[in-house]
């Protein structure tokens, strides 16, 4: 074997190793969490709230809180993020202002989440007097996810061909009509991607929520829950593992979160494919 062949083989094996280790680690982590968690998932765990009297642990309130906080965050973050993206790509004419806002958004998305939590607890909980509540938590998450939604929307707005806009203007359509009928439908996929990424982040967020949303496990309706303290699944996982020493429950929650993430990612790609098909239908 000559030198070149040896070099080729060595590199190929190294690449194989890198790929193998990456895949192996992921599968091992997934398998380990599911192996530890799945046996602990019971119907009682999923459908009840915790009670000290009967020494029962249930995570239904945490599941609901997670859903509530996702919904509330999205309600605020979608119009804000999409609106900002539309302004930046369609209206703003000052390139420097646009660059500044984009830079700010990028910086914002790189800040550790605990800093958002600190800010949220000072601003929303204390200054705005919301105390520790799901609403304060959701608002903090809005700031955290705003850059994501804005940037993904913006990127997909940029992929809408200029010729569509020209065509619509050429027919005498006004600016807003062009945006609403030609530009926005072309970027729904970007908005959806942004939302799904955000949901993923919301589901996985703990640091920011520890500060702002609190730890309660009370079973509440949507409106009541918004104004009271409540823990999401991730926060509950942290609580059960660190304070209760309930590792079985913690792993059960971890398994649920894992499955949730999988579902979110799957639906993201399915929805993406759906819009792709619809565009070319």
């Amino acid at each position: 074997m000559n030198k070149r062949n040896i070099y080729n083989w060595t590199m190929q094996i190294l690449m194989w190793l890198a790929a193998g280790i990456t895949a192996g680690l992921t599968l091992f982590l997934l398998g380990y969490v599911l192996y530890k968690g799945l046996p602990n998932i019971t119907w009682e765990l999923l459908s009840t709230k915790p009670s000290y009297l009967t020494d029962r642990i249930g995570i239904l309130p945490d599941i609901l809180n997670t859903v509530y906080i996702i919904l509330t965050t999205l309600v605020f973050v979608i119009p804000l993020g999409v609106g900002a993206a539309i302004y930046l790509t369609e209206y703003a004419s000052n390139k420097r202002v646009v660059a500044m806002i984009e830079y700010a958004a990028e910086t914002l998305s790189g800040i550790p989440s605990i800093i958002y939590g600190l800010f949220g607890s000072l601003f929303f909980c204390q200054f705005m007097d919301l105390d520790k509540s799901l609403l304060a938590g959701a608002l903090t998450l809005v700031i955290m996810n705003l850059p994501t939604v804005m940037r993904t929307t913006q990127e997909s707005l940029k992929t809408v061909p200029q010729s569509y806009r020209e065509g619509a203007f050429g027919l005498g359509a006004g600016k807003w009509r062009v945006i609403r009928t030609v530009v926005l439908p072309g970027c729904v996929d970007g908005v959806v991607t942004g939302c799904i990424l955000s949901i993923g982040r919301i589901v996985g967020e703990s640091a920011a929520l520890l500060f702002t949303a609190g730890f309660a496990h009370a079973l509440n309706g949507f409106v009541d829950a918004l104004f009271t303290s409540g823990s999401t699944l991730t926060v509950a996982l942290y609580m059960y593992a660190t304070e209760g020493g309930e590792f079985g429950v913690a792993f059960a929650i971890a398994a649920i979160l894992m499955i949730l993430t999988l579902i979110i990612n799957l639906s993201a790609s399915l929805i993406g494919k759906y819009f792709e098909r619809k565009k070319n239908a």
Partner: protein, 250 residues
Amino acid sequence: MSIITAKDLCLWYGATQALKNINIEIPERSITALIGPSGCGKSTFLKTLNRMNDLIPSVRIEGTVTYGGQDIFAPSVDVNDLRKEIGMVFQKPNPFPMSIYDNIAYGPRTHGIKNKIQLDDIVEEALQGAAIWDEVKDRLKKSALGLSGGQQQRLCIARAMAVKPKVLLMDEPTSALDPISTSKIEDLTQQLKKDYTIIMVTHNMQQAVRISDNTAFFLLGELVEFGDTEQMFSQPQDKRTEDYITGRFG
């Protein structure tokens, strides 16, 4: 009768002057071809006529353009109404990613027509007018992106016609098409000039000779010569025109 008149029209992109003192009177219900080498200002001139240049922030315009006697740059002019009167077909076919029907109905809907029966009539009439009705009548609800390039361009012509403009601006409408589609569109323009005024930018001098009544030759932002097509191609008045149409540069 001239329908569009430009007087001392100058246009700048930032510091670069793209049009220099253009004076031209474009006759109604005829085809005017704009020819000249790339970058000579013919497309810029075309886009000035329905104020599509407004979309570019750095553009500055001096002089006047009148449409039917009305100054198109006057503050009282609604640019959307102007574009309804002066429609445009672009170089590359640009159907919207919607059904064929919705593409044609886009313009009329923009201008407030909601009645389904009325829209159906407009759509059929426009597609008939653009000689594409027979090819698409069974698939009106299908996406317009599934059509061939030539069909897409005729669809775009139909879409422009659906708002019932008086003038159609065409920016090299056949340059992205094969010869058969090109000849279909050329035939179509001969039909259309009975009812419309067509102003067409073309790089193809044979095409200008084949279809246009008048030709305007642009060079470096100037209108060098404007007149009857046959006359211009047989006895050009200006040396530069002669050099261009005989292929000495360009």
